[in-house]
Symmetry: C2
Subunit: 239 residues, 2 copies
DNA sequence: GTCCGACCGCTTGTATACTAGTATTTCTCG
DNA sequence: CGAGAAATACTAGTATACAAGCGGTCGGAC
């Protein structure tokens, strides 16, 4: 697992300190969530607060705060007195997350298509070019960040910045699948092609076309589920 | 404020114990959220973890857990070393919450209208009758619970039970306004009339009519905002 | 050989203590 | 009398200790 996170109040590990000495909870939450999404903490794996604290160089208290949020996100399951377990991927939870994601992002993209101005489209264009550069470098990590930024920018273009945080947490299960999808050949090029189609519809002020393109794009990951399940049956809940 | 909450581990206050001795955090979260929604904890009011713990008969730890979730819901703002403040109602947050609520509930009701069967409609009918009885008794608390159940049942009818918890947390700001709306004469009768129109469209398997009726219904509370703001200007953020 | 009870090791939930930061109040000096 | 500095009181964040519960193991009895 990761080396101890340098944060305020934690036992010194080397002299590395996080700039600004921000509270540890949010940082730990992001770090643990990322490890779960990347399957570095495998579905079904048993965690303990004490052990996580020792590994990350902090006491149980900020670990508990982070795990509390992960429990809210349904990424871990806490069983009192037994332990904390990385949640397995539930087909029902995936279906629910997909429903929420489509409802939020497709509604937002319609409004974005109505409101899009030159400045917003320039920002989206820049993001698309960065995605293409990341693919040329086969830099999957960068591409994934840019992918998220693309979708976030569209949501924010609706004028409702609170949509993205809600969407992001609701789609945690999908993020796990998306991460597992990335190793398919030509997958990223297909994704960027979809992104360009969506951007063209938004820039052309066509809400219907934007929604259709986005909905189709969002469903791509679901088509990967059977293959992912075949490669990683232990990642999934029993049906 | 409320008398101490009987929970596991807390200092005994009388001998009342909650059945099953469940953890305190979720209970405190619900209690504090309810007090914020009811404006019993006024917007802008300064809380401290120590004081809340003393009032509620528990240590700071479960209070912190509850406040962490309330912070996620944007119902409180935590300023380290200064205090925790009940969030004022932000017009932008209200607008965002309304957007999310419409996106989720209107998408869900369309699916519900397609899937509704006799058993589901019977459950919704029973809820509507209970709403009418609550209005006859002028029992606003019961009605509000039934109102939530009505909307929840519609969401659940989409086959995606995860929608409601996401929606419920996202619309916390709207709940505050809904609570403040209830004292209008004839408001509840209008609400139940809307509910019946929605139910009729769902039962009639008419997704378009169900969405239109629900969207109009959901927007009713926004029309109350100017009056609420006039009566309680201190509840709102500066524009 | 099987079953049951006791014990141990681990867990989470909560209480308490410590630390660092912030704001307010009080005191001193010009 | 006002301004600035120092002291004080409060806060949240984190570390640590204690309590209760759960599951597994081992030993004794049948």
């Amino acid at each position: 697992m990761a080396e101890p996170i340098p944060i305020r109040g934690g036992k010194p590990s080397g002299d590395a300190r996080r700039p600004g000495r921000a509270p540890a909870g949010p940082y730990l939450y992001a770090a643990l969530r990322d490890q779960i999404v990347r399957a570095e903490l495998a579905p079904g794996e048993r965690l303990s607060e004490t052990e996580l604290g020792e590994r990350l160089g902090v006491s149980r208290t900020p670990i508990r705060e982070a795990l509390g949020r992960l429990r809210d996100d349904r990424l871990v399951e806490v069983r009192p007195q037994i332990g904390t377990f990385v949640a397995r991927i539930s087909p029902a939870a995936v279906s629910d997350a997909q429903f929420i994601r489509e409802a939020l992002e497709c509604t937002a993209v319609r409004v974005a298509a109505e409101l899009a101005d030159v400045e917003s489209m320039a920002q989206i264009e820049e993001n698309l070019r960065a995605q293409e550069r990341a693919i040329e470098r086969v830099d999957i990590d960068s591409w994934q960040l840019l992918d998220d930024t693309f979708h976030r920018n569209l949501c924010d273009l609706s004028g409702h910045p609170a949509v993205w945080p809600v969407n992001e947490r609701a789609k945690s299960h999908l993020n796990r699948l998306r991460r597992l999808s990335l190793r398919m050949p030509d997958y990223l090029s297909t994704m960027v092609g979809d992104h360009r189609a969506i951007a063209d519809a938004v820039g052309g002020h066509d809400p219907d076309a934007a929604e259709v393109a986005l909905r189709e794009h969002l469903r791509a990951v679901l088509r990967e589920v059977p293959r992912i399940r075949e490669e990683h049956p232990d990642y999934f809940e029993e049906p």
